[in-house]
């Protein structure tokens, strides 16, 4: 511990604190812009300057030391902060009124906080093309303030390394190598960059207009599915605490928006467990490829396709819950209710930007149509609810429609890291042993630790499992597999830190603390569910009886399973069949 003085206050803090952290501990909030806790600490924006020994230092990177004297509010400090922000504004398109991040923009907030009433400097502005190539993410470098959070999250946390600073001085721009378009890179579409962008330089592709159009079309039957993680985060867009479970309000809101049927991705998550647990057991019994790795997360899928194309056979062939749902929504569902599948529009509400890419994959048309037509992130849905004038917070609770709205707690916990694993274990244990699980909670696989391990005794057979979230952690696990050092049978991997509750389509901000609260919301909702094991879902039982036959059966194979596409790392995102090129990829 060291003791220092900040604005006359004596503060004692751990020796590894920065001045910014120490000030926070003393109740002094230093304005900041590029700094983002747990993500980025580059000292590049120079907004958080404080006076130390008569000189300005960036508080976010300046380490505390014994006896340090810090002044956070002096004329020199105030002038510097204002000048810096004015300089940023002098090269920023001031189109706040129509910017997607209006009112959630950190630069806007900062200008207000620093009482900036005019921009004293003007001059040349940077002009770069807007990158609209990706189905998931829009990149507008003209709005970029070069805080570099996106670079930090993409390279250091996700280990994907798509974004970097290019050129220098005033011409500096954050972009993929060779100024390639995002869609032409190994970008996984995970959207973590969008979550950390303080301004409107990185945003999701907005598909709300497509949904409005479908809803307005009297000839279509618009079906919506909501991903497990959405119900614990949507409330944040309306001022509710992170982790608040708003399932009922969300259902009501969707109905008021005009969806013809409101279903739950938890239903197809349960179905995923039926297929995936059986696939695992089959691989264990038949000497199939192990460890088997989950395939629910489209960011993760694209990551492994680019980075470890030789290990694709480790992936479960199960489609993600979104895509299983889509395939059934245009086959099973219309048959059951007597509709023309050609008239069905399937919309999904996802915590994820990569799901937009996934829905467009050519493999995802097993119903004979594009299985999932439109994917909205949580943020887009919130915008629609706001535009429709729906008073979300005061909505009465609604209920999902049958049959594809019936689900269990096992499907619900897919939304948190470790959830798929836990759901699979709940089913695998009972299927293998024939016994009833005494304790449903597999706490070893829960929580925000990067890589988690557990062993489960399935009546004498010890099943070794691992869970990784965040692609940086995924890479570590994959390298173990590559080196033959991964002694696991089953691995769950989610692209985003924290799993889907931390997905790139979730409300902004998404921080470690917020992720934690959302996770708590997920497990609280699971506890309240009457059914908590996928194989006990009555609607799933009926589905197999009426339509699919049995897990891994012929119909399942056609509708619920898929294959993967090797891709190269650089300058292309297209599938690659050239073995030599792929070998060079490693």
């Amino acid at each position: 511990m060291v003791t220092l003085t900040i604005d006359g206050q004596v503060v004692t803090v751990p020796a590894d604190y920065t001045v910014l952290e120490a000030a926070e501990a003393a109740g002094i909030r230093i304005p900041r812009l590029c700094y983002l806790k747990d993500v980025s600490q580059t000292g590049s924006c120079r907004v958080c300057v404080v006076e130390i020994g008569g000189r300005l230092q960036a508080a976010c990177v300046f380490p505390v030391s014994e006896g340090l004297e810090v002044k956070t509010n002096t004329p020199m400090v105030r002038e510097s902060r204002r000048t810096t922000v004015e300089l940023l504004l002098s090269n920023h398109p001031q189109d706040c009124l129509t910017c997607l991040r209006n009112q959630t923009c950190e630069l806007q907030k900062l200008a207000q906080e620093l009482n900036i009433r005019q921009v004293s400097f003007e001059g040349e502005r940077t002009h770069f093309p807007i990158d609209l190539s990706s189905p998931s993410i829009i990149r507008d470098p003209n709005k970029c303030i070069l805080c570099r959070r996106c670079i930090s999250v993409c390279s250091e946390i996700q280990g994907v390394d798509i974004l970097a600073a290019r050129e220098r001085g005033f011409d500096t721009v954050v972009s993929p190598a060779w100024q390639e378009e995002l869609a032409n890179t190994a970008c996984t579409n995970c959207g973590q960059c969008v979550l950390v962008c303080p301004v409107g330089a990185l945003t999701e592709q907005d598909d709300t207009e497509k949904v409005w159009a479908a809803l307005a079309d009297p000839d279509t039957h618009v079906v919506v599915q909501t991903a497990p993680a959405v119900r614990v985060t949507l409330g944040e867009e309306f001022g509710l605490e992170p982790g608040t479970v708003v399932t009922g309000k969300m259902i009501t809101a969707l109905r008021r928006l005009g969806f013809d049927a409101v279903f739950d991705t938890d239903f197809s998550a349960d179905l995923t467990i039926m297929e995936e647990a059986n696939e695992l057991l089959q691989r264990l019994n038949d000497g199939g490829k192990l460890p088997m790795i989950t395939s629910c997360s489209p960011g993760w899928i694209k990551f492994i396709e680019h980075q470890f194309p030789s290990l694709l056979d480790h992936l479960s062939t199960c489609k993600s819950p979104q895509q299983m749902f889509g395939a059934l929504a245009k086959t099973y569902y219309p048959r059951k209710v007597g509709l023309d599948p050609a008239k069905i529009v399937t919309v999904s509400i996802m915590p994820c930007t990569a799901k937009k890419f996934e829905a467009e994959r050519p493999e995802m048309r097993s119903s004979g149509y594009q299985d999932v037509d439109i994917v909205l992130t949580v943020r887009e849905l919130a915008r629609m609810i706001k535009e429709a004038g729906i008073d979300f917070v005061n909505l009465p609770d609604g209920e999902y429609d049958a049959p594809m709205g019936i689900s269990t707690g096992a499907g619900l916990i897919f939304g948190a890291t470790g959830g798929v694993m836990e759901a699979a274990l709940r089913t695998a244990y009972e299927v293998v042993t024939g016994k009833t699980l005494a304790k449903l909670d597999f706490t070893d696989v829960r929580g925000l630790e990067g890589i988690k391990e557990a062993s489960v005794d399935l009546d004498g057979t010890v099943l070794k499992v691992a869970v990784a979230h965040g692609l940086g952690n995924a890479r570590k696990v994959m390298e173990l597999i590559q080196q033959g050092k991964a002694e696991y049978h089953f691995i769950e991997i989610m692209a985003c830190p924290g799993g889907c509750i931390g997905g790139g389509g979730q409300p902004i901000p998404t921080s470690t603390e917020i992720r934690q609260k959302r996770i708590e919301g997920i497990y609280a909702a699971d506890r309240d569910m009457p059914l908590r094991k996928s194989h006990e879902n009555p609607a799933i039982k009926v589905l197999y009886e009426e339509f699919l036959g049995e897990p891994l059966g012929e119909m399942s194979h056609k509708l619920l399973h898929t294959s993967y596409t090797p891709r190269l790392k650089y300058r292309t995102a297209a599938p690659c069949k050239d073995q030599e090129q792929l070998a060079g990829n490693a």
Binding site: G43, L87, G169
Partner: protein, 597 residues
Amino acid sequence: MAVYRLHVLVCAGAGCVSSNCKAVEAALQDELEKAGIAEEVKVVETGCIGTCDLGPLIVVYPEGVFYQRLTPDDAREIVNEHFVKGRIVRRLLYRPAEDAEPVALTADMDFFRRQYRIALRNTGVIDPEVIEEYIARDGYAALGKVLSTMSPEQVIDEIKRSGLRGRGGAGFPTGLKWEFAYKAPGDEKYVVCNADEGDPGAFMDRSILEGDPHSVIEAMSIAGYAIGAKQGFVYVRAEYPLAVERLTKALNQAREYGLLGENIFGTDFSFDIEIRVGAGAFVCGEETALLTSIEGKRGEPRPRPPFPAVKGVFGKPTLLNNVETYANICPIILNGAEWFAEIGTEKSRGTKVFAIAGDINNTGLVEVPMGTTLREVIFDIGGGIPKGKKFKAAQTGGPSGGCLTEEHLDISMDYESLTQVGSMMGSGGLIVMDENTCMVDIARFYLDYTKDESCGKCTPCRVGTTRMLEILTRLTEGKGEEGDIEKLETLARNIKASSLCGLGQSAPNPVLSTLQHFREEYEAHVRDKRCPAGQCLALIQFFIEPELCRGCGLCIKVCPENAISGNRREPHEIDVELCVKCGACQERCPFDAIIRR
């Protein structure tokens, strides 16, 4: 061993190489063969001798006769007259002024006479590609002394007591830096040499690497021994191919001789050096950006603390000094700290190499004791301002420094004095400007440079220097507005205070110091739309003085716009509407009748 009657040193610094010294050397060799005295005269290629605008040049020993601005055609005369008959070729000697008597010997030339060469002790004297020549001049004796008789603590103590300070610009006490790196915990440490010389006009580091590479290698090995490092890096810019080539050769020779690599001099001490070639970003001369670049990343500065001595290359304790600093180490070890400390001023010991350029008669590299006055450097060594013009200012410290004016001519050139008057030592670039220089335009020139070289990481430097340049450009184009000077001052103050690294922190200096000393020039640009020095084209017009014009018609011939008219033998006139201010007429006029105002 062969004994030679004469040694001919051919300067083969990069400047002379570009002015084709190799052809002169070949012609000399050829003529020697023809004259049959090739066995008696040894021709040696050396590093930079210092008088760069006099090249190609040679110095003939034992006397030290200095021949300048040679062409291959001069070789025959030099060989036949001087080498064979012993008669000095007067027409090829140096003349301090057009009408002055020629000076034959380097020892009599003011340029050399007033220098004190420590860092440059071997450049221009030895063949940098022959390790024996370095050894003959006490090379590797310091390393031998250190390894056989001194402990690391003693080495550090010696450097500390010498008072040597960093020659790269900031002037941090070198011994203290060594001590920090020595005391920093860690098994793996690195010694780095900053040879990313980026200040426009400064080339002392290049000259040392080209002319005396072993002095840097030896010093880095000593540093390695002192701080406990086994690996060194020389970070040298790609624009210095000759330095890279000679350093590479020197490294190989040193390894071959057991002076580098495993078990140097048969001791337990092992040390080796790798060259890292930079891609030419000015910011990579900043220490943290340099280290980041060595790691293979985009060369961008990182916040300090942690300082490189604690967390440098690859996160390990790292000692970073510049080329000229290293070049001072071996003489200190051999002659003792006291010897070195006696040279220079109380706080700035030793010597400093300056690269003098601009409006000055003798451009080139000079090494003088710290504390030498600006007047001595410019007028005594540099030979003053050409064409009898008045001295206006001198820029020290390159684009990060500031300008000194006539009132500063007698200040002592040392770290403190220069900083006190708003400039800095920097790496030793010294650009001299005469009365025709517009100080607003000079500030604009330097900002244009730093703005281009900003890495783009931090806001004040990235956007701020651009905004400053825009204002300065506006002023020089006659579009200045009331309040522009104040805006410049606000920007300068804040960029200086809040930028992440030294580049941004010093980028506004040229503006601040010109504002301090020549504020009235700025005001004239803004208020009167006038450039007092007559340089800013938008603010001047060309006129013909009728009294001086003889009506020769030459200006009419060169004017590309047909803007000049007049009858022969009568004063001509310029049509200011047509004139594009190219200046061709002024250059051509034999009577200095065309003026700009």
